[in-house]
């Protein structure tokens, strides 16, 4: 069996590569496919972080539904052959963002290194999963403590559907 | 409303009852001219509207024909002089009642409290005493005559109701000035008459020059008003009141000759200089002749300009406490008397001669009150009101006649220039006679009114110089000599005016002279009344020393020093102060001789001057303005140009102010202030332009800026 650390770095590499691909790809469809790669890789890291339900959702909702939506739009607008180079900013932007990214990563590492590597959270989640299963662990909380925001999310989605319809309709 | 009822019924409580004087509707005296003003003012507005409508309709109101004049034009004829006549009658009743009573203390009639702030209160109250009564008599009496005269003089003027509205308003304020029971109320009248003076000088405001003359009078008077105000503040600071009664009651607590009382009196005198046209602020009065001639008679000869003399006489205690101020008052007075008299020698405009004569005579009054002869000053004020009003109205009648002559022949010559007159006695005998009476009066010829009043002033000036304990004897000697010299000049320039106007050959023009005529009755009757007063007016105050002699007609005149005794309650305190501080002093002139001798000398000298100048001026060949090519040279030119005082003021005061104003306008206002305002606009605009560079409209830019902001916040949290 491959070690978890190796898997993590594998997924991390895929995610970063996919992300860079999203930014650099000339074709929107290419970008989109890189994005799917990155999202799938992140789903892997979720699994490694014991967030199994979220990993599944990530694949189904993000990499699946939302990305297909994007694809549909690209097709709809016939942008598939848009190879024009629209990247602006160039080397300077890359360097500056490299520096900023380094600082941000450093900071994140400091944050992680402050301890609590094995904080109470990890053990509690493991206990919940052991008790309710991966889905049940989230569902228990979602349908008890956070039931009102959950319902409101439903309304939000409804509004988004209506809004999208209204906006995209030909005759408004 | 209650106070109005109280006003009509003679007021609330008399604060101090003295003798058995019962005031008779004194409030009505003040109220009537105000009502006249309101009524005439309303008519004036209606009249203006009607004329405007007529002009718009293409026609014009015909005022030349008596029958076709509208009611707005005829009603003021009755309202204007009417209210004055009633006010005079009420004053007369009060006067006779006061004659019968022995009033030791002034009667203060309180109506309501006007200002009440903290410890400072000013009541709307009238003060009736001997001084204000004399002033009321002069104002309403002479005022009524001038109102009547105006009916004839102004009858064809399109602004007739407005004229009477202003005139009534002036009388109202003048009465407030003399009847007010406090300096504050006096100041109200003081400012009010200034306003009316401005309105009436600029009565023909469509003429730029006349409107400017009004402004000049108003602005020059402001300088004096500042002095009045400062003096009032000083009084309040030291007495806690500006009412006459408490101030004069406590006045003697001030140090005799101290800095404070000197300052107060000098500041008051600054006010008097402005109002009474003394040096160096006299310049507005000659220009004030731009107003209608009856206005000159009422405001700029008989009443308003004497307000300064009234102020000094009213404040006699304070001035008696300040010998330095008194010396200044007399000094300014005598200098002005001489200075103005010399200018009058060379003036050709009949009204200008009279204007400088007025300035000169006002100087005499200040000499009177300056040498402690307050009663003499008021006496000259009164007689001057008679004969100067007469002279002005006489000149008005002449101008009226001249104007009509030129108007009928469409000649555009100056109807006021004496070079265009000459020989008018044939056309206007009544005016001629009455004006000669006034001229003899002003020249100081016995037994006319001016003789008694002017000689009294001159005598007191000399006597003060000769008195043992009097201050500054040398200075007063100079004053006395100058006053005598000015008296001789007066006799000369007045005679010159009379000769040039009425004697010799007529220079108006052959065609024009056919239109010259005597003034109508409504104009000459007031002249005649004033002529009588100019003859007999002086007899109420024949000096003791002259009483039994020739000047008093050997004792025939009963009222020896009547005015002195009448004003005794007013001046007693001042004389007491002089006595306490200077001791009992005896009067005698610097070069010896008594009052009778000097009076005889001066009247004989004046008579000689008059006789000589008739010969001298009569012997000259005067030519009409259009033929006059004489170039004046030397001192005559200086006199003709009034010593270039106007030019001097223009150079040293007006021009610098104009330049400073221009600087303020161009540099400070347009440059700095407007520049600052514009700069704010430019800076905002520039900033907006710079900031708008960031507003590209593209989302990426906004996202970038947002990111930079977030990084700043994060960076801040990092350290």
């Amino acid at each position: 069996m491959l070690s978890a650390t190796f898997l993590f770095y594998l997924f991390a590499g895929l995610a970063i590569g996919g992300a860079i691909g999203v930014v650099m790809a000339k074709s929107p469809v290419g970008s989109l496919l890189f994005m799917v790669t990155a999202l799938a890789a992140m789903a892997g890291t979720f699994v490694l972080l014991e967030a199994h339900f979220l990993a599944a959702i990530q694949i189904i909702v993000y990499a699946g539904a939302i990305m297909v939506l994007f694809l549909f739009v690209i097709m709809l607008l016939n942008l598939g052959h848009d190879y024009e180079k629209d990247l602006k900013g160039g080397a300077f932007a890359v360097v500056s963002f490299g520096v900023i990214g380094g600082i941000a990563g450093l900071r994140a590492q400091q944050l992680g290194a402050t301890g609590m590597q094995d904080g109470p959270g990890g053990a509690a989640i493991d206990a919940l999963i052991a008790e309710h299963g991966a889905v049940g662990a989230i569902a228990t909380e979602l349908y008890t403590t956070y039931v009102v925001p959950f319902e409101i999310t439903g309304i939000l989605l409804l509004v988004a559907i209506v809004g999208a319809l209204v906006l995209a309709k030909r005759e408004v | 409303m209650a106070s109005l009822a109280a006003l009509v019924q003679g007021g609330g409580q008399a604060a101090t009852e003295g003798g058995h004087f019962e005031p008779f509707f004194p409030g009505l005296v003040v109220l009537l001219p105000l009502l006249g003003f309101l009524a005439n003012g309303y008519l004036a507005l209606q009249h203006a509207r009607a004329s405007a409508d007529a002009v718009r309709g293409g026609s014009e109101l015909d005022l030349g024909d008596a029958a076709s004049r509208p009611a707005t034009h005829t009603l003021p004829t009755w309202i204007g002089p009417g209210v004055m006549a009633v006010a005079f009658l009420i004053t007369l009743v009060n006067f006779t009642r006061m004659l019968g009573a022995h009033l030791e203390e002034p009667v203060v009639i309180h109506y309501w409290t006007w200002i009440a702030t903290g410890t400072f209160t000013v009541d709307a109250a009238l003060q009736l005493d001997q001084l204000s009564m004399i002033m009321m008599m002069v104002i309403t009496g002479v005022g009524t005559l001038i109102h009547v005269f105006s009916v004839g003089y102004m009858k064809e003027d399109p602004g007739y109701p407005r004229y009477f509205a202003y005139l009534n308003l002036f009388v109202f304020f003048m009465l407030v000035l003399v009847m007010g029971s406090s300096y504050a109320l006096m100041f109200v009248g003081w400012e009010g008459v200034g306003l009316c003076s401005y309105l009436l000088i600029g009565y023909w405001f469509s003429d730029r020059e006349k409107a400017d003359a009004g402004k000049k009078a108003f602005i020059v008077n402001r300088i004096g008003d500042v002095g009045f105000l400062i003096a009032m503040f000083l009084l309040f600071k030291n007495f806690g009141s500006v009412d006459f009664v408490p101030v004069f009651h406590d006045a003697e607590t001030l140090v005799y000759g101290g800095g404070l009382v000197t300052a107060i009196t000098l500041f008051f005198f600054v006010g008097a200089i402005g109002k009474s046209a003394q040096m160096p602020l006299y310049v507005w009065l000659p220009d004030a002749m731009a107003g209608p001639t009856p206005v000159s008679a009422l405001i700029h000869a008989a009443t308003m300009v004497t307000a300064g003399v009234y102020l000094v006489a009213r404040s006699s205690v304070l001035f008696a406490l300040a010998p330095l101020s008194s010396a200044v008052v007399a000094g300014i007075g005598v200098l002005t008397a001489l200075f103005a008299a010399t200018i009058a020698l060379k003036q050709n405009d009949i009204k200008k001669v009279l204007a400088y004569s007025t300035v000169s005579q006002l100087g005499y009054m200040f000499v009177g009150v300056g040498v402690g002869a307050y009663a003499a000053g008021v006496f000259h004020l009164m007689t001057h009101a008679f004969f100067k009003a007469l002279l002005f109205m006489g000149s008005g009648a002449v101008i009226h006649s001249m104007h009509e002559a030129y108007h009928a022949t469409h000649n555009h010559e100056d109807p006021q220039d004496m070079r265009n007159m000459g020989g008018l006695k044939a056309f206007m005998p009544i005016t001629w006679v009455t004006m000669w009476i006034a001229t003899l009066a002003i020249a100081g010829i016995w037994p006319f009114a001016g003789f008694f009043s002017k000689d009294e002033i001159i005598w007191y000036a000399g006597a003060w110089a000769g008195a043992e304990n009097a201050p500054y004897p040398g200075l007063y000697t100079v004053y006395w000599i100058l006053a005598l010299a000015a008296a001789m000049l007066t006799a000369f320039y007045m005679t010159r005016m009379m000769v040039m106007t009425f004697h010799g050959a007529n220079r108006t023009g052959d065609e024009e002279s056919k239109h010259l005529h005597e003034a109508p009755a409504v104009m000459w009757v007031p002249l005649a009344i004033l002529a009588v007063l100019s003859i007999f007016g002086g007899w109420i105050n024949v000096p003791e020393a002259l009483q039994s002699g020739w000047a008093g007609l050997g004792g025939v005149l009963p009222m020896s020093e009547w005015l002195h005794h009448w004003l005794e309650p007013i001046t007693a305190q001042a004389h007491h102060v002089q006595e306490v501080n200077l001791g009992q002093y005896s009067y005698y002139a610097p070069f010896g001789g008594g009052e009778a001798m000097w009076a005889a000398i001066s009247t004989v000298a004046a008579a000689i001057v008059v006789a000589l100048s008739i010969r001298i001026v009569g012997g000259r060949t005067v030519v009409a303005v259009k033929d006059d090519t004489t170039e004046l040279t030397g001192f005559a030119k200086v006199l003709y140009n009034k010593y270039y005082v106007d030019e001097l003021y223009d150079r040293i005061i007006v021009q610098p102010i104009v330049r400073a104003s221009r600087f303020c306008w161009k540099v400070i206002d347009a440059g700095i202030i407007d520049g600052a305002v514009n700069a704010v606009g430019w800076v905002s605009k520039g900033t907006g332009w710079v900031v708008s560079m960031f507003q590209t409209g593209t989302v990426n830019t906004y996202a970038f800026i947002l990111t930079v902001g977030v990084l700043f916040v994060l960076g801040a949290s990092l350290f």
Binding site: I57, G112, E141 | Q695
Partner: protein, 97 residues
């Protein structure tokens, strides 16, 4: 592993931000925004290992909102495209006066 996850999250977020700023294609910008959201999600998941299950629940909500946002955002892009015939944001200057 939490530390590494956080570092990964940061790197992904920066790349996403970079993408939003440098790309002009509206759809790709949108994708980059989704990438940023995912980076944040990763942080949440990592932190949930420290502080408890609430982190994961938050991710759940974020995903919902992201879905709604994607729907509405794409609808907007479509309607803009109808008008301009392009998805290049440089052409959209409605925000400029």
């Amino acid at each position: 592993m939490i530390t590494e996850a956080l570092v990964l999250s940061a790197i992904l977020f920066v790349i996403g931000t970079f993408g939003v700023l440098v790309r002009r294609n509206a759809i790709i910008m949108f994708l980059c925004i989704e990438l940023q959201l995912n980076a944040v999600n990763l942080s949440f998941v990592a932190f949930s290992r420290m502080f408890g299950i609430e982190g994961q629940i938050f991710v759940f909500f974020v995903m919902t909102v992201a879905a709604a946002e994607a729907a509405v955002g794409l609808a907007i892009i479509i309607s803009i495209f109808r008008h301009y015939e392009t998805v290049n944001v440089d052409s959209f200057n409605l925000l400029k006066w």
